[in-house]
Structures are given as C-alpha cells and as structure tokens.
Symmetry: C3
Subunit: 394 residues, 3 copies
C-alpha cells in the first residue's frame, strides 16, 4: 500500500459533495444496527455480519481505542462509554474532510445541522436543498392546485437563496424512477396532477409533479444532485438506471450540471452519460462505505472505465453514524490510490497525472462545479461559508 499516490490521497483534504448529518444522541444496539444498513435490522441477523459491519469493526474500532476487528458488543460498549459527541468528533476529524455539502431534506432522527457537522470536523458546510421536501412543505402549508407551480417555485427560490446553498437535490429515483416523459409538463397538467396529489396527500410521487420538479430545478440554475441506484427498498432498481434520463438530458443540455449520486450497480451507465453529456457528473458515494475499503477499488475501476477525470466527484452520502463519514473517505482514498498507484507502477499512467486525477476527484472537481473557494493553505476552516452567487440563478 506504499507509493506516492497513496501518500497523496491519504493526505488529501476532501470535498464531500453529498452527505447528511450524524445522530447527536446516544445509540443503543438496535438503533446503531438499524443505521448500519439501507434495509432494516432483522431479528436473528446482525447487521454487523455484512461487508459494512466488517469494515466498521476493522477501520473504526481502532479510533475508539479498540483492537482491529473488535466484536460488536465491545464496539458498542466502548461507543456508549465515549458518548456521541466524542465518537462523532473522532470519526469526523479522522475523515479528513474539509468541505461538507449537506442534504438537509432527510432527517427522521435528530441529527446535526450542516454547521454543527462541519464544526465537529473543523470544516466548512454548505447546504443542498432537497426539492421534494420543499414541495411537500408547500403542500403541508396548503395551496390551491392552480397555485402549486408558482408557490413551489417561489419556495424553492427562497430555499436556494439562503447564503450557504450550493445545489439542489431530487429523490425522483425513490418516487417514480427515471422512466419519465422528458418534456416539461404543461401548466394544465401540473394543476391537474397537483389537484390529485393535494387531495390524496402523502409523498410527492406523481410522475407529472416529479417531472415538474426536475424542470423547476433547471429554472433554479443550481447544480442538481440526483439519487441514482442503490438505496432502501423503496427503490425499484430497474427504473433507476440513469440512462432513462437520456432524452431529458438532451432537452436540458446547456442548462444545469447534473450530478448522478451513488450509481451502483449502474456506475457504468452513469459513466457513459458523463462521457457523452457535458453537464453530467457522477460519484459512487454510499456504495463506498457499504462495500468497504476491500472492494471500493473494484467499484471505482468500473466507474472510471470511460469517465473523463474532471467528471468524477467524491461523496460519502454518510447518514446517521459518523463511522460512515470516515469509511466513505477511507474507501475512496484507498480504492482510488490502489487503482492509480498500480497504473503508475505498470507505467500505464505517469505519477504527475495520477496526482492530478487524485486532486481533481478529491476536491477540485467539486470546487469548480459548485464555485467553492480554493482550500486555504493552513486548512483553517469555519463552520459556515458563503459561496459565490451562481451566475445562472434566476
């Protein structure tokens, strides 16, 4: 595991362009095990008995002063003993992340705000606005169907007008999948669909309203993050192959950047889109900590088969437990370093090129895309920040 690329990636300060907060309270075993999976915690099967559980015991236990591969009982006991604040501090510091772009739209648990998260890590926080949450808040406040489109747009503009917002996000993948008509729906269609939804209630999952949401994102002018592939059992995986977006990408070419998040098992399909559409970028977040450092290189190798090197970003998609912030970072560093170093050793890639690719993907690509300031030499960071105004904001 030696070599200059490993050293560079081990030392790199990361931009995590998509993540969530961590739980601030104490976690008992069921609570921790439940956060350890995209499924549920099932009786008789410990979620520790999985690739991510093995990775936690291997890589996180030492940060709690335990031996590598400590058993779950010892791990949880020590975690409880240290308390949530100290545990979060240790993992977030060790992750080596300077910048956190935090999706604030999903928080069934009491979790840290972006500022709190970055504060613990000594980094800087930006916010990613989840558009479905904005739309559902509009519905919850009450709106007439014919006013839905304008009210949602105004609420979205308001949300992205906050000084630390750098992107919007959609979970269309969870709601309808990507097999949607590509065109912007008409006003009449939106009003009709809004009438149905507002009468029925529940989550925004109407195909017309999801399309309208994606087109509203285009109007907002900020980069759009799209959940893609792996997630919980709400996903219908065969409907979230991102190449279903091809017609929509043609129609929206020249407008906003589109960030395909996670992508597994469709990392090759995402790479194809990133290779042929100027506006498409991807990451393999979430997957990285679920497969762990033992397998992250294989996923990254597929993601990078044809992807232009300015198109891959780093994200953890960590949620709930700070272990995932650490594991995502570690899996990315080790997987990418192993991949690049082997190519350098085989003289398939020059060392300077490998170091450039490492720097681009660990942070520069995200900084360029979101218009974030260059890292300060001393890694001094504050817990909040003001990004530059996107020029394309309407």
């Amino acid at each position: 595991m030696g070599g200059r690329v490993h050293e560079a990636l081990a030392a790199a300060r990361l931009v995590d362009h998509h993540c969530h907060g961590v739980v601030t309270g104490a976690l008992d075993r069921p609570g921790f095990e439940s956060l350890l999976t995209e499924g549920a915690a099932w009786p008789g099967i410990s979620t520790f008995d999985s690739p991510v559980g093995v990775a936690v015991r291997r890589h996180c236990a030492p940060l709690l002063d335990l031996p590598r591969h400590a058993p779950p009982e010892a791990y949880l006991a020590r975690r409880a003993e240290l308390g949530p604040h100290e545990v979060n501090r240790r993992f977030l510091s060790a992750a080596g992340t300077d910048v956190f772009c935090v999706d604030t739209g999903y928080a069934p648990d009491r979790i840290t705000s972006p500022g709190e998260l970055a504060g613990i890590a000594g980094g800087t926080a930006y916010e990613v606005v989840r558009l479905e949450s904005v739309a559902e808040a509009v519905a919850a406040r009450g709106v007439e169907p014919h006013a839905y489109a304008d009210t949602f747009r105004a609420a979205a503009l308001d949300a992205v007008g906050r000084p630390d917002v750098v992107a919007v996000k959609s979970v269309a993948a969870y709601r309808t999948g990507f097999d949607l008509a590509p065109e912007r729906p008409s006003e009449a269609e939106v009003t009709r669909a809004a009438a149905d939804w507002l009468a029925r209630g529940g989550r925004l999952a109407d195909p017309v309203l999801v399309r309208h949401l994606l087109w509203t994102a285009v109007d907002l002018g900020l980069p759009l993050q799209l959940h893609t592939g792996f997630g919980d059992s709400d996903i219908r995986m065969h409907r979230v192959d991102p190449t279903h977006l091809t017609d929509w990408l043609h129609l929206t070419a020249g407008t906003i950047p589109v960030l395909l998040l996670h992508c597994w098992p469709y990392q090759r399909q995402a790479a194809y889109l990133a290779a042929v559409f100027e506006q498409v970028y991807l990451d393999v977040g979430l997957t990285l900590h679920f497969v762990g450092p033992a397998r992250s290189r294989a996923i990254l190798a597929e993601a990078l088969e044809i992807t232009p090197f300015r198109k891959l970003l780093y994200s953890s998609d960590a949620y709930g437990v700070a272990e995932f912030h650490l594991l995502g970072a570690l899996s990315f560093r080790q997987g990418l370093a192993s991949l690049l170093q082997e190519r350098v050793d085989a003289d398939e890639l020059s060392l300077p090129d490998a170091l450039r690719i490492a720097a681009w993907t660990s942070g520069d690509n995200a900084r360029r895309l979101y218009g974030l300031p260059a890292p300060s030499p001393s890694h001094q960071a504050s817990a909040t920040a003001h990004p530059p105004s996107p020029e394309s904001m309407i």
Copy 2:
C-alpha cells in the same frame, strides 16, 4: 492458494441447496457435449471449447486418472471405459457435498432420483418441488377451469407433504419473466386464464397463472426458490432482472423466504434485494461451474459486495453430468477462499470472521433456512431424511 481459509473451505462439507440428478446411462460425445452447455451442441463448434469445457478437462480429468487438460477425446474415452456408475461415484464423492436439495421437476433424460444421487455421494437428499410441473400435471390429468385453483393448490399441498420436501421452486423466469403485476390475481381472473390455457395446452406460461403460482407458493409456506438470470435460450434476460419482483416482495414481506438462484448477470441486483428485504437470499449456482474456478472469485466478489453474510447460499445447480457437481463445489470453495483469504492477508477481515463466513455460506445458512439437522460429526449420512415440519405450513 495456501492459508487457513483455503484449508477450511477445502474441507467443508457442503449443503447444495439446489441441484438436479445425474444421467445414469452411458453418454456418447454428442450426448455429453450437449449436457455441457445451456445452449445446444452446434456442428463445427465443440462445447469443450468454452470456459466450462476447459474447467472439465483441468479439474475433472485427474479424477478419471488422466493428466490435467486431457484432450476431449481421451476424456470421453476414459469416461466411457469407467462407465457411468463409477464416473458418477468419483465426481460425487469428490464434490464433498453432504446435503443435496434436488429439484425433481426437470428430467428430460433418465437421471438419478434424489435418493440415488445422495446415495452415490454418501450424503442426504431432500426434495424441491417445481410448482410448474405440479400445475402442468394437474392440467394433463384434466380439470375444469373453475376448479383449477383449488386442484392445483391441493396437488401442491400433496406434493410438499412428502416427508423429504424442504422447498418449492418456480421457473417463472422462463415462462413470463418477472415483470408481472404483483397482486394476487382474483378467482375470476384465474378461472378465465385457466380456461384459455387448458383449451390451448402447452406449458404454463400465462402471466395470470404464473402470478397465481407464486402466490400459491406463499400459501404453502415453504421457502421458494426462483430461477433468476442465466439459463437456456428460453430466457428473455432483460425480463429476469430480479428487481422486477420488488413490488411483489413488498406485498409478501413476512411470509416465505425467497431464494434467488444463479442470478448472473444480475448478482448485484440480487444482492441489493438480499440487503434490503429480510426474506431474500441468493446464490450464484450454475454460473460457478460455467465460469469455472478461474473466474468464480470475481462473480462471488460482486455477489458479496453488499450482501449480508447470512444471505448467501451455496448451490451447484448441476444437471446431468456429475462433473458439474464437482466443478460447482470446487469453484465455490476456491473462489470464496481466494476472496476471503486475500482480505485476511490484507487485515481487512479477521480470520475467525472469514471462517464464520465460510461456514455460514457453505452450509449453515441453508440448514438454518430449510430447518435441516446439524451435520453429524462423523459425516455419517443416509440417503434419505425427514426434515422438521415447517411451522408455517398450511
């Protein structure tokens, strides 16, 4: 190839939770070549010139007292010289399988019964009832459309009431694929579809009746094995992505275990389902001997990226030639050992954890799921067995 994990997996007594019998008579070259493929034997192309053919010549020839990589002619001559009984004995003994769960619903050739198969191997046999065969037998005996549902259910209950039955199986993948409406069809729908089918004849391939069959499996209460992915040219591969079953899995959550068999090239999609649905399990049988020990590790690595370790089972899906019983076992042992040992060597996995994963996947997971008795210390085994009554049997 050294190391403790290799030793443990080489010595493990396997539970093959899905396989078939072997041909009892002599096989000429066309007969053998035809069984060596999921396609057909084609003029001018020997099926030996394929990954599985290479694996047979490499790993099976020595068990016939031939050098490694013996040519096909020598292989078949020696096979004929020894005779089918001795050939079957050698491969089945060498496979190291203790328990065979045998799908008895597919037998175009004269093959061994479950008891005969296990008897040759010195193991124990259980039976897996193929529901399409039960339904087609009901149709063949003659039934009125309005009585089809009850008669099929009674016949299925009768079939699974035999003392050695541990599971049912469906080949819905071959008949309609998985892109089916998820709900249980109404009585009227079933009667109408049965009327059409019974008038038309042929295999059960009507979407309503296939859905009805899957829901009947839920009523039976036994684990359901589902052919998934790779098979012969009757498969429409794009329709057998198991994630098409997601809605049905939501509707049937809390009822029966669902075993996704084979899965390639959808092993990642199957792993996703196993990670988010409590009732879903998978194997990569069939694929293992078709790709051979040289490639089984890569398939297992994908299958295990996110799969909880209690969710992967071993099967050979061997049919016809006893070589496949050996090769499936060998590909599993070597592929998994190579994967786990490398992680142990890299200190990504502890040795005790690796040994537990090896023990679970080689047999314990299947024993737990099917309620099979623990292995006897001396590996004494009889050719038939009585499993415990499933509690959920109706």
Copy 3:
C-alpha cells in the same frame, strides 16, 4: 508481462472485423480532441483528461518519437510536424493488423477508403455495407412508398454484390434500440411506414422500417454486424441491451450469423446470447481503446466468462485517428494475454489451449465466419481482395 501467451499475442497478425477509415488531412487541437471522444469536445475540459487520452499519451507518443506520457501540446505539435500520412503510417503499421473489414457507411470527415487504409497498413481490406446508408440513399434518390421495399432490397443486393463485401451492418441501436417487435413486418406495414418517412425525411428511424431492414439483412444472407451498447449520446443505453433481440434471434435461427459489436456495458448479456444461440458472436471493440490497456483485461474477462471461444472476435471500431487502430490492437493483445497467461501460470489452462484461444480470437474466428482466405505465411498482402461468394447469398 512475460510468458509465451504474451509473445504469441504480441506477434499475432490481427483480423479487425469492424473498423473505419482514418482522417487523411491535418488535425488541429479541436479536431483531434473531438475525434478522441464519443461525446463532444467541451470547453474547459480536455478530452486528453480521460482514460483514452492517458492511453494515447502513454502508448502512442513513443511511436511519434516522444517520451511516454508526453503532454498533449507536445503530442499534437509532433503529430502536426510529421503530417497525417506519416502519422497514419506509423500507427497502422504498428497495429499489426492484416485484415480490415471496413464499415463505409459513416464518414462525416474526409477519411481513407478501405483500400487506402489497408494500403497504408500493408494489409487487406474488405467492406462492410451499412444498411441504413443504403436505405437513406434510396430515399434520397426518390422512391414511391409502395416501391420502397423492393428498391431497398435491390440496392442492398447491389451493394453487397461488390467483390470485397463480406458483411452488412445495422445501427438499429442508434435509431430505435432493440426493443422491437420481432416479426417480419408485412408489405402493407412497410409501405405505410415508408410513406411517413419519405414524406417526413431525415434518418431512417421508424421501428417498422428498422425491423424491415433487419429482415432484409436476413434475406441478403451475409453476416450481420449490429452496433450494441456504447456509442455517442444518440444511444438510449437501456434500449440497446442485446437480449431485447432474443425473440428475433429465435425467429432467424438457422439463417445469418449475427455479430454483436462493442457491447459494453452489456458484454455479459452479449456473452449469454453467444452461449445459447448458434448464430451469435461478439466483440468488445470500441471499448478496448476507450478503456485502454490498463483496463481491457477486465472487460475481456467479463466478455469471456461463458462465451464459447469460437464466438469472440477482435475489432477496433477505430474511426478517424489512427491512434485508435493501434490502441484497439494493443488493448486486445495485452488484455487477452494477461488474462490467458495468468490462467496458464495458475495451471487453470494449458499453454496449447491458451495459444489456440489467442489464435482463434485474433483472426481465425473472423476468417472462418466471413470466409476469408488463410493468412499467407510471409504476411504479404495486397490492398484489395476478393472473398469467396457466400453460399447463402440470394
């Protein structure tokens, strides 16, 4: 990288069964960068910053007397200095390709004819007729809708009657994808669809006419090459999974060979079809140079998991820049050699078998399929050739 398999594949004279000509004029940086990608050249992102760009700088620069990993500026300056003829000569000679089967239906740039291409390389050229181009030429010349079918068939017969034509090709993947009704359309359907298309103009993209084109290929009796998978942004990737062709392959079994080109990311799906349909063959051209020698082995390993060894062919699918003819050949040689040599070293494959597989896939399979003459011992070759008349020609 030593070993007998590496030596054999390094020395093999290749049959490139699907490629295109190279640009004959000088290329400025935008022109070269644009040809370096299946996307477009985008402002602010150099196409050199991609896997294929890295591979060009690593493997092509030395042939221009530059150091490995030369920077893009130096590379393009030296390329301009040598001039297109010398550059093309160097790369085409170094590719080691004896036979070029050239798709002449795509030439937005001024590129070499098949004879010119082969002449530069000291090899032999054959032609592949792109049927969409034939149909579009028929439309451009003017035809009545009811005469379209006969006129297209006559024009296609005329095109394939040229002495050097060995195959036809369809880009149905780009026009409709493969999710088509499998049956031959009726005369009335074709006339109706032709009336619409001829009135509307543009590319042939009507599903009925694309089906008619594929069935016309069956009538022509020559091998049919089908673009599959990876391509530019006209592709809707989820519609070009080749297993959508399964019903059509059943209907056309026993007629013409079908060559699945490129295939990535569907190389496993293509391998499945090649394993179960006698008439199906595949290659992983295009992908090979886009991923480069550092990753070609991984793609070939997936393509070969279950593919019979007489079913894999070599192609470069190079277009425009002669670098791709070299890189395709190099990626194939190194990737396959690495794969086979490792199996030989692990005694999973005998050396004679490895050498046979190398010889088959580098040329013998293509020669057998297209009825090409055996290579002359001295590798003397002429720039044109007359293949034997296909027996099945109507």
